[in-house]
């Protein structure tokens, strides 16, 4: 086993981890603010990929089609998310968690079936954007340029999301809402409007992950299922509702998965769950969780 191979797997793990981070950040923001575990997050991730596919195909071979899709698909999904929040979620904020799980799980099924009705059960492929196709040759290894772009792009998005939450007035309302929803309401701020914005923002991050994964894995109606499981693992490891926890957890899961494939490929998935169990055992609230 060469050090080069170890380095490569680390790189692979970090990039895959970055995708987990992006999806989990969306989930964790929604949980932190709305106190709702969104089981439709995976299906929305798939919806983002399909929206992007449609935008890119409509624009045809034009070089900018993928870049426009990166902007338009998350916006479209944000709109869908806003509708879901206003028409459905809003009715059950005060209900027990089981109701919210049932509702969001139902939404997930509806989205999945709609995808099959509109785009068909067979998956879709989308070629790499020309600008990012190709590899950087590292001797024995080659690393796709696209994956390097992916890492930095996600880092940028996360930084932006963090600045939005920590440094803007709107972010302050959101943070206040996480701490004490009723107090924010008493201060004369329309907390429900903030909820809609947060939910739309959270799901648009999942959609963005769907767009970014499109050239790597294509779009399939059930692509959200596996990713949702992993996202929950990341969420638990990092700590529910913690922004930094999502980033840390995502990178841990990505790297553990990738490294274990070197030593024990059959056990790659098991070791992720083992890592989760370990975290729950040592720190029941997750590495950076506060509740």
């Amino acid at each position: 086993m060469t050090s080069g191979l170890l380095l490569m797997q680390l790189l692979n793990g970090v990039v895959v981890g970055a995708i987990y981070v992006l999806i989990t950040v969306g989930l964790t923001i929604v949980f932190g603010m709305l106190n709702v575990i969104n089981f439709a997050h995976g299906a929305i991730f798939a919806l983002g990929a399909y929206f992007a596919y449609t935008v890119a195909v409509m624009l045809g071979d034009w070089v900018g089609s993928f870049w426009l899709a990166i902007i338009l698909a998350p916006l479209g999904v944000a709109l869908v998310g806003a509708l879901i929040e206003m028409l459905l979620l809003r009715k059950i904020y005060d209900a027990v968690h089981e109701y919210q799980i049932l509702l969001t799980f139902g939404v997930a099924l509806v989205i999945q079936e709609l995808i099959i009705m509109i785009w068909g059960p067979i998956g879709k492929s989308f070629p790499m954007p020309a600008l990012l196709a190709g590899v950087i040759d590292l001797g024995v290894f080659a690393f796709p340029i696209y994956r390097i772009f992916l890492f930095f792009f996600i880092a940028l998005i996360c930084l932006g999301a963090w600045l939005f939450i920590e440094k803007t007035n709107y972010g302050a309302i959101i943070r206040a809402g996480i701490d004490n929803r009723d107090m924010v309401n008493c201060l004369g701020i329309d907390i429900y409007k903030a909820f809609t914005v947060v939910f739309a923002f959270g799901v648009s991050l999942a959609a963005l992950a769907g767009v970014l994964i499109l050239p790597m894995r294509g779009a399939q109606p059930f692509m959200g299922d596996t990713i949702l499981t992993l996202t929950f693992v990341v969420l638990v490891i990092g700590g529910m509702g913690s922004f930094m926890g999502a980033i840390l957890g995502g990178l841990i899961v990505g790297v553990v998965e990738s490294m274990m494939i070197l030593f024990w490929p059959e056990g790659a998935m098991i070791s992720i769950f083992a890592a989760m169990a370990l975290v729950i055992w040592v720190k029941p609230r997750g590495l950076l969780g506060s509740r």
Binding site: N12, I122, P127, F143, R147, R217, S258, I261
Partner: protein, 400 residues
């Protein structure tokens, strides 16, 4: 009291109605065939293909066998062995169906095969695991597709001969019956030809991220990387192999693909130059295939894919054998099927009597580049074909 009696009466009536309602195959007037496949969940598109193929076989026969109308029943296995076996047993016991075909998962097909043996019902399948017509063969089970043994013989062998310089082979295998079966056969071929098997990785079925496996294969300096996975797994693996520039560093073989469907879904950008093994390819110039092409082009405006074609031929074989036997009695139909020669999708095909395996061609395809493709369906060219089934002397099948 009166009211209670009335209520009881209504319940009785409802139960009776329900009974007649769910008992649609009338043995006197109708003949039932059950097509089994995954009709829900991630593999549902395969189920739809199966129905299209089976329906056309019935339609081609005029909807009748021996003068009785054929009733096609669709059975959703959900790709789970327990579910598939239970539903087939129910169909036999409550609806009296004695003829079953299809299913795409080896594990599910093995379970159904066992049920059919116990219940004396005829089953034709197209799954890969050697056991179906090998160590777990039985009198009631037949297989149309070439098993994993032949798939390896007809893909890896010709490629070793074609590329004598490719000495280092790496395999990526899904961790279940079908994958293990392909891998074991491949290891035997590697030994036989003295090429080096530089590594193998097992991945769980439904795996989506292959980057780490691909990196390992590249680190092993493989000349040839073989994917033994199927469907979605293959599609993901190939896309990522392309992302990593592997297609330029090594040759890639998908030993068992579902043909045109996979090629179209992956797209020529990703599979240019990749080798694919396949049970069926629509350019085969034989009457049965050409007729199927024409029908599919008129009905669906595209060429038939492997799951559709195999479902068609398996249903057709059952209908043909019943006509030949002149009865729907399974024992007589088994005798009619054993040794039957017919014009099939790959030319002359024959059902071997000793293990119930169909002798037919297997194809090795090379996917074309985008600018080489002249139109729909022109995604690949056949570069080698042959018939490889396990010879009787080496077979593990002890027919009961």
């Amino acid at each position: 009291m009166k009211r209670q009696i009335a209520v009881l009466g209504f319940i009785g009536l409802a139960v009776a109605l329900l009974f007649f309602w769910t008992n649609p195959v009338n043995a006197e007037n109708e003949f039932g065939i059950g097509s089994v496949g995954p009709f829900s969940g991630p593999y549902a598109s395969l189920g739809e293909d199966i129905v299209r193929g089976s329906e056309y076989a019935v339609e081609e026969a005029g909807g009748k066998v021996l003068g009785k109308p054929i009733k096609l029943t669709v059975i959703d296995s959900e790709a789970k062995p327990g579910v598939g076996a239970r539903k087939v047993r129910e169909a036999i016991q409550s609806q009296g169906i004695k003829y079953f075909n299809n299913e795409t998962s080896s594990a599910v097909a093995l379970a159904i095969s066992q049920v059919c043996q116990e219940e004396k019902a005829i089953y034709i399948t197209s799954v890969g695991a050697d056991e179906i017509t090998g160590s777990k063969c039985n009198r009631y089970t037949f297989r149309w597709s070439i098993p994993t043994y032949g798939a390896v013989q007809e893909t890896i062998k010709p490629l070793i001969k074609m590329f004598p310089d490719a000495k280092r082979w790496y395999t990526i295998t899904p961790d279940y019956v079908f994958g293990h079966s392909l891998l074991n056969n491949a290891i035997a071929v590697f030994k036989e030809f003295g090429v080096e098997h530089v590594g193998n990785d097992m991945h769980p079925i439904g795996h989506t991220e292959f980057s780490s496996f691909l990196t390992k294969a590249m680190a092993a300096k493989a000349d040839f990387v073989v994917f033994f996975n199927f469907g979605k797994d293959t599609i993901n693996a190939l896309k990522q192999a392309n992302n990593f520039g592997m297609t330029k560093k090594a040759k890639i073989l998908v030993a068992w693909s579902s043909g045109l469907r996979d090629l179209e879904e992956i797209g020529p950008e990703f599979c240019e130059g990749v080798y694919f093994g396949c049970q069926f390819w629509h350019t085969e110039n034989v009457p049965v295939t050409q007729k199927l092409n024409k029908i599919w082009l008129t009905k669906y405006n595209r060429f038939p894919s492997y799951p559709e074609a195999s479902a068609y031929i398996m249903t057709k074989l059952q209908i043909m054998a019943i006509e030949k036997a002149g009865t729907t009695d399974p024992d007589a139909v088994i005798r009619a099927l054993e040794g039957m020669k017919y014009d099939g999708l790959t030319g002359a095909e024959e059902i071997q009597a000793f293990d119930h395996q169909v002798k037919k061609k297997y194809y090795l395809l090379r996917a074309k580049a985008k600018n080489e493709i002249k139109g729909p369906g022109d995604n690949a060219e056949i570069i080698s074909t042959g018939i490889s089934v396990i010879p009787q002397a080496k077979s593990d099948c002890k027919m009961q």
